[in-house]
């Protein structure tokens, strides 16, 4: 049984790989507490079972009514746990201070923006991505904010977690120590698709990281390609279906709608009638998504991209969507 449980990304029974500078300390303390707990648990249960057998009610046996009080032992079992608890607190404190104290110089500052239900990472050179890339062996600093509700930045392999609460900045730093690909979860409940608000963390060698940055910063020449490029990086992909394969997203799908007139939802200033799916509509629904919601997507939440997309970028997106015109429309949601 155990081997099958272990047959996954874990290299220990308890933990995923230790991929950051904090991981070893956290695991060490964890294991320490495990041993302490065993040291308490086993005797307690043993005593319990032993007494249950030894003093069980049976013919010819009568227990005593004494032994109601014993100062020494009572003091002992109050003081010893106190001391141990103090030690655990102290160790935890040290680890925490390590995480909270300013990172060593030369950090890679990455802006993290959490939106329902996707992540967006902005790198020092202005590049953006929806998956996190960090150089190995160099401290990376996350400067995080949420634009809607509470989210949480959680990378098990790094043993790092920070909630991201709107209206304020949150910081977190770590030094990746092991190249590879790890999971990033949203750890604070944030609504319908909370459980799909995941991303990958790529810990790369400096060269690969530099390559990634260089590649990530330049937009393709061809407008349609740029559209697709934006579509993948600006987290449209998270919700909107494009192409024949792929999952049905929470938002309206792109293909097969261009140039047709689409039914609108009632409410806001969409009066429930139809509208032509064209550049203007695309532009409008990217900047003011609430205004003209599509029928059947009344409850879908799309963040506004006001101030985040240049007008020509939006045009590129429109061009990309237009290029999908030919493709078959997906099954109605």
């Amino acid at each position: 049984m155990i081997p099958t449980i272990l047959a996954d990304i874990n290299d220990s029974f308890w933990f995923p790989k230790q991929a950051s500078n904090f991981a070893p300390d956290v695991d060490w303390l964890y294991n320490a507490i495990v041993y302490i707990s065993i040291a308490f648990f086993v005797p307690i249960v043993a005593a319990m079972i032993y007494f249950t057998v030894k003093y069980r009610e049976r013919p010819g046996y009568k227990g005593s009514f004494e032994a109601l009080h014993n100062t020494t032992i009572e003091v002992l079992w109050s003081v010893i746990p106190t001391v141990i608890a103090g030690w655990i607190f102290w160790q935890g404190l040290l680890g925490y201070i390590a995480m909270q104290s300013p990172p060593p110089s030369g950090t890679e500052d990455i802006k993290v923006i959490a939106k329902r239900w996707n992540w967006n990472f902005k790198y020092p050179n202005g590049a953006e991505s929806t998956e996190l890339h960090v150089p190995v062996g160099r401290p990376a600093k996350m400067i995080m904010r949420s634009t809607d509700v509470n989210h949480g930045f959680f990378v098990p392999a790094f043993r790092v977690k920070r909630d991201i609460i709107p209206g304020r900045f949150h910081y977190s730093w770590f030094t990746p120590t092991l190249e590879g690909t790890y999971d990033l979860f949203c750890s604070e409940y944030c609504g319908d698709n909370h459980s799909t608000m995941n991303a990958k963390v790529f810990v790369q060698s400096e060269e690969d990281y530099a390559k990634f940055l260089a590649e990530a910063i330049k937009e393709p020449e061809d407008i349609v390609e740029r559209g697709r490029w934006l579509y993948e990086r600006k987290a449209c992909k998270g919700c909107h279906y494009a192409g024949k394969d792929g999952a049905q997203g929470p938002g309206p799908s792109y293909n097969g709608t261009w140039g047709k007139s689409v039914p609108l939802a009632k409410g806001a200033d969409a009066s429930g009638k139809e509208t032509l799916f064209d550049d203007q509509y695309v532009l409008n629904s990217i900047l003011n998504p609430e205004q003209q919601k599509r029928k059947g997507y009344e409850n879908a939440v799309m963040p506004s991209y006001k101030g985040e997309l240049k007008i020509e970028q939006i045009e590129a997106l429109a061009a990309f969507i237009k290029s999908l015109e030919s493709e078959a429309a997906p099954a109605k949601k």
Partner: protein, 358 residues
């Protein structure tokens, strides 16, 4: 709460610890035990009240120390005079209530009813003044949170007759009580007269309060807006700047396309240049609006406690009109008194915290 302490009532009094007089619940040994239990219960209830309000005081402290300038700006919209008068009224009602307790202990039923009536009246008057305050603010568009309307010089007063709406319930009650009084008079029932009298007076007091409020509100004009010159909220300043940086560097076209949220349009309307308008950074939903949320929550919840108090005092008037209270059984009066003083107690803190910010 008090109902739990008050056993079924009747007029005659015995005080033998073991054969149970009807005012002594069967599970108590004697009158004193019953009294102690009731009183301790009431004190515990007051504890819950204190903690209940502490939540709002916490919110107050939080936001006041986060941006004091907002509180300074906003409290200029609150009319000190009205606050002070209301404080006086409540204090007086506390006096009459305490007096009522004394009367009940001494079985001076006339005084008792009189004092309870006075307390009721003061409560009604307090609410009358509050009605004026609220309606005046609503007229200015000083609503809570996201409904707050940014104050602009010479903005038109809303024409909605809020004060009228607020007075309707009182009016209905007044009519009802008068009818009741007439009935009592016709039926020549001493008991009903004893009850109806105070009620009519109390209902009238509400309108007295309204009148008083209007008089004081009138000479207070609303030039408040001037006060808040050149205050600048820290965080906002820098958020604004970010806005501009971004605009200049990246998103110039996008910015032009921005849909106009009323905050936007308002920013255009009130540029910080205009000397006698409040600074836009304070005078908006997320700032002044928040203050008024706190103001309405605190005073509103307090007002509801007043209403509750009035209800139980009315109940006391009925009981005392039946001559139920005496030195062995006055728990209900005492406990309602405790509650009433707590309501006063809360207001004693609300007044300086909300009205007297300089």
């Amino acid at each position: 709460m008090t109902t739990a302490v008050a056993p079924p009532a009747s007029e005659h009094e015995h005080d033998a610890a073991h054969e149970h007089p009807s005012w002594l619940a069967h599970h108590f040994d004697d009158a004193e035990q019953q009294f102690d239990a009731g009183k301790m219960g009431m004190w515990l209830f007051l504890v819950t009240e204190v903690l209940f309000f502490s939540g709002m005081f916490c919110a107050y402290a939080l936001y006041r120390n986060r941006n004091p300038e907002v509180f300074e700006f906003c409290s200029t919209f609150l009319n000190e005079k009205l606050g002070a008068i209301n404080t006086g009224v409540l204090l007086f009602s506390s006096l009459t209530m305490a007096w009522a307790v004394r009367a009940s202990q001494l079985k001076q039923t006339k005084t008792l009813i009189g004092m309870l009536g006075a307390t009721l009246g003061c409560a009604a008057m307090f609410l009358g003044v509050k009605a004026v305050e609220y309606s005046h603010k609503w007229g200015l568009g000083l609503f809570a949170g996201k409904y707050y309307v940014s104050q602009v010089e010479g903005a038109p007063h809303s024409t909605v007759p809020y004060l009228w709406y607020l007075s309707i319930p009182a009016l209905i009650l007044l009519v009802g009580f008068v009818l009741y009084y007439v009935y009592a008079f016709v039926a020549a029932s001493k008991f009903h007269l004893r009850v109806a009298g105070p009620l009519v007076v109390a209902a009238l007091c509400f309108f007295g309060g309204v009148k008083l409020g209007q008089v004081l509100e009138a000479d207070e004009g609303h030039a408040e807006v001037h006060v808040a010159d050149g205050m600048k909220s820290h965080g906002l300043e820098h958020a604004e700047q970010d806005g501009h940086d971004q605009a200049s560097e990246a998103t110039a076209p996008a910015i032009n396309l921005l849909g106009d949220s009323d905050v936007q349009s308002h920013d255009v309307a009130v540029s910080p240049a205009e000397s006698n308008t409040p600074d836009s950074s304070v005078n908006q939903k997320g700032m002044a609006g928040l203050f008024f949320s706190i103001y309405y929550c605190m005073t509103g919840v307090h007002a509801f406690h007043i209403l509750g108090g009035m209800a139980v005092i009315t109940w006391l008037i009925v009981k005392s009109a039946r001559f139920e209270f005496h030195s062995k059984y006055y728990g209900p009066v005492d406990n309602v008194g405790l509650y009433w003083h707590l309501v006063d107690f809360i207001w004693i803190y609300l007044f300086p915290l909300l009205y007297l910010i300089t």
